[in-house]
Structures are given as structure tokens and as C-alpha cells.
């Protein structure tokens, strides 16, 4: 049975009809057409479905949509809503921290959550924080470098 759900995504309130069994991932993709949110493993291990919930990273494949009501959801689309890329997105492009791009939205959001939480992480902290985001093109070296560059740019005031 479908129920009404009011979901705040990228700063907008969306009124939706969802099943209790619908995951946040399914609702974001199928009803709101936010295709940056991707299903990889479906069990919370790969990070391609990462979204921010009240600023914290979660696997949207493991969150029941109804339980996300009242929370602020942000996807990569929400980072560049004004048309200007976030400094983390820019840096990923400049540092070539992506190849096929499938994992990139998840990485960008994880990096944003990490740097919002800790503006000066150690190398170990970066690697540990991102250890749940998998890149099968094996771009980890470039990704960690991009985190460092983005971190410096943010320190200098870039957003």
C-alpha cells in the first residue's frame, strides 16, 4: 500500500507516494530522477549510492524511504544546484580523480562529509573514511590526492 511521504531533497520538499519497502535509493532514482545515486552492491559496502542525510553520509540502499522523512537529503545534484560546481567536484576533474565515473558521486559526497567533519584529516583518516567507497578503475591514489588539494582550496576559502 502506498503512503504519502514528504521528503526534503537538495533543499526542496517533494511530496511522494511510496511503499513501506521502498528504499531511499529507489525513490531518489525512480521518482525524483536523481541518477547520480547509483546501486552498486545493494548491501551498503560499495558506496555508489552514498547520499548525505543531515550532513552525514549514508548508504541510500539501506535506508527505508519512509524513515528519511524530516531529514535533509543531499545528492551530488544538490552540490551544484546554482550551476557552479563544488570545489570538491572541480578538484576531482582537475586531478583526474575519476575514470569511468560510476563511483564518483559517492566519493564526492563522502569527501564532503569528511572535510566538513574534519578539515585537517591525516592520511590514515582519509583512507579509513573512504574505505567504504570502492573504485574499480583503481583510481585511489588520484582520489586521495584530490582530497588533499580540495582540502587546501577549502582552507583558502573556496566552496
Amino acid at each position: 500500500m502506498k503512503r504519502e511521504l514528504a521528503l526534503t531533497v537538495n533543499g526542496r520538499l517533494a511530496k511522494l507516494q511510496v511503499e513501506d519497502a521502498d528504499t531511499l535509493l529507489e525513490v531518489l532514482r525512480d521518482q525524483l530522477n536523481l541518477w547520480s545515486v547509483r546501486e552498486g552492491c545493494g548491501v551498503g559496502a560499495c558506496g555508489t549510492c552514498t547520499v548525505l542525510m543531515d550532513g552525514k553520509p549514508v548508504s541510500s540502499c539501506l535506508v527505508l524511504a519512509r524513515r528519511a522523512e524530516g531529514r535533509e537529503i543531499v545528492t551530488v545534484e544538490g552540490l551544484a544546484a546554482s550551476g557552479k560546481l563544488d570545489v570538491i567536484q572541480e578538484t576531482f576533474i582537475e586531478e583526474r580523480a575519476l575514470q569511468c565515473g560510476y563511483c564518483t558521486p559517492g566519493f564526492i559526497l563522502s569527501v564532503k562529509a569528511l572535510l566538513d567533519e574534519n578539515s585537517t584529516p591525516t592520511d590514515d583518516e582519509v583512507r579509513e573514511y573512504l574505505s567504504g567507497n570502492l573504485c574499480r578503475c583503481a583510481g585511489y591514489g588520484d582520489i586521495v590526492r584530490a582530497v588533499r588539494v580540495a582540502q587546501e582550496k577549502r582552507r583558502a576559502g573556496a566552496t
Binding site: 519497502a21 548491501v43 551498503g44 559496502a45 549514508v58 535506508v63 524513515r67 567504504g132
Partner: protein, 289 residues
Amino acid sequence: MTIPVFELLRPKTLAEASELLLKHGDDARLIAGGTTLVILMKQRTVYYPYLIDLQGISGLDHITADGEGLRIGAMATQRAVETSLLVRRSFPALADAFGKIGNVRVRTTATVGGNLAHADYRLDPPPVLLILGADLVLSSPKQTRTVPIKDFYRGLYETALEPGEILAEVRVPPAPEGSRTLYLKYSSLSANDWPCLGVAALLKGNAKRCDELRLGVGGLAEKPLLIEGLELARNETITDSLLDEIARLVDEQISPISDLRGSEWYKREMARVFVKRAICALAEEDPHL
């Protein structure tokens, strides 16, 4: 991956949640953070027509401390425990164990109570809670009772929870004065995976004289174990022969399940290695290996 159709019930109080549990019996399961239950439902490993959501019940996610120790609400997230200064200061090994579960997204969503009540044999926090002598507060409309965590685990995915009972809080008494604790997680596949085994150790004293030693292990039997008989180490110098004796004691009490992370033989070998490593690390007052 989709989840089969079910109905999400959203009680506002613990008593209401208990009533729903009793009403629906085996057709219902509590959902806390949901990170495990959602996966098991997706994989069709388990199916419940009703999930009873604990998210809407207020007052279950506290982390507080007083003279009697630490209190952690069952709905506190694992990430909240991992990053809590209160926990890190007084029980660093506990913060560490919660910080080693899955990945940061899982820990942001998953809860303390959901983890403990799942009663998987490989959980990271129970070995630490066992050596700290933690109590679990179980709530039902009839009564609220406190069960030592060593009596909570009954077997593979089996706990002391009675029908309608809900794990509401974890209480950790102050650790013995001057003692140090450590949790070692050994992952044989990947860092984010279930452990092959986990060893928690508490030592009061040093390499020259052991005043008290406690060991808790995970992944080495059908349930998390508190190792018995460690009085033999009391007032002893920590020598190779004492370590061998302790390792033998551990070996007698474990019964590892062969799984993807290691055969029974391998887990017994690694148990010996990690038990010794944990004790030595604490004895040398160097908790960072």
C-alpha cells in the same frame, strides 16, 4: 535489489513497541538502524510481514556517564559511540570496537542495540563489553530487567530476550582502577568486512606483575565468549610460558565455526597469535601496535 513487501509499524513508546511484538509474534521484527535487517530482507534470508520501527521512540539514543559508569541508549548510532569523547576518554577500546564495524556510512546508520541484539557470532563490540562486565537493560511492559552481557548471548543468533522484550540500554561499570583495555580486530578478507576474529583484553598491572587479566573473543564460537579461568595469571610475571598457558586456556574454550574468513584450524592458530599480541601490547603499555 528490492525488499519484499512488508508493513512498517511506528510506535511512539517502548511499551507500544512491545505490545506490537507480542501481537504479531514471529511475523514481526524490530528495526533499529536497519543496516543488517534490510540486507537480510533483500537477500530473502529472512522475511517479516511487519517491521516495528524504533526510530520514533524518544529517549533511546543517549550516551551519558556518572559515578556508576556509562549508559548508552540502544538507538545511539555506532558512529556516535565511536566519536563520543565521553566513551573515548573512559573506554577507548569500546569506541574502537564500534569504530571498526563496516564502514562510516554503516556506522552512521546502524545502532548499538541493533548490533548487540542481532547476536551474530562475529560482532565487534561484545568482546569488549564482556571484559568490561557490561549489563544490558531489557524492557517490557511487565518489567525492566538487567542482564549481564555474558548471560545475554545463548547461542548462534540466540539471546536472552523474551517475547515482547526490547533491549533498551547498555550499562558499562567503571573499569578497575589502573586497568587498560584493547580491542584487536583481525580481518582476513577486507578491512570493512566481518572479522575473522576479534580479541578484547583488559590488563591491570604490567609485564612484571599481572594484577588482573580479562579476555573476550568474537568470531571464535557460536557466540561471543568471556574466557574463564584467567585467575591463573594473577600476580604472575608475563612470560612466554604464561602466554602459552593462557593461549591453551583460550583454545580449550573456543569452538570456531569454519567460514569464508577462515577454517576452524586457521581461527585457532590466529586466536593464539592475537590473544598473545593483545596481552603483550597491554603489558608493554603500548596500546598502538
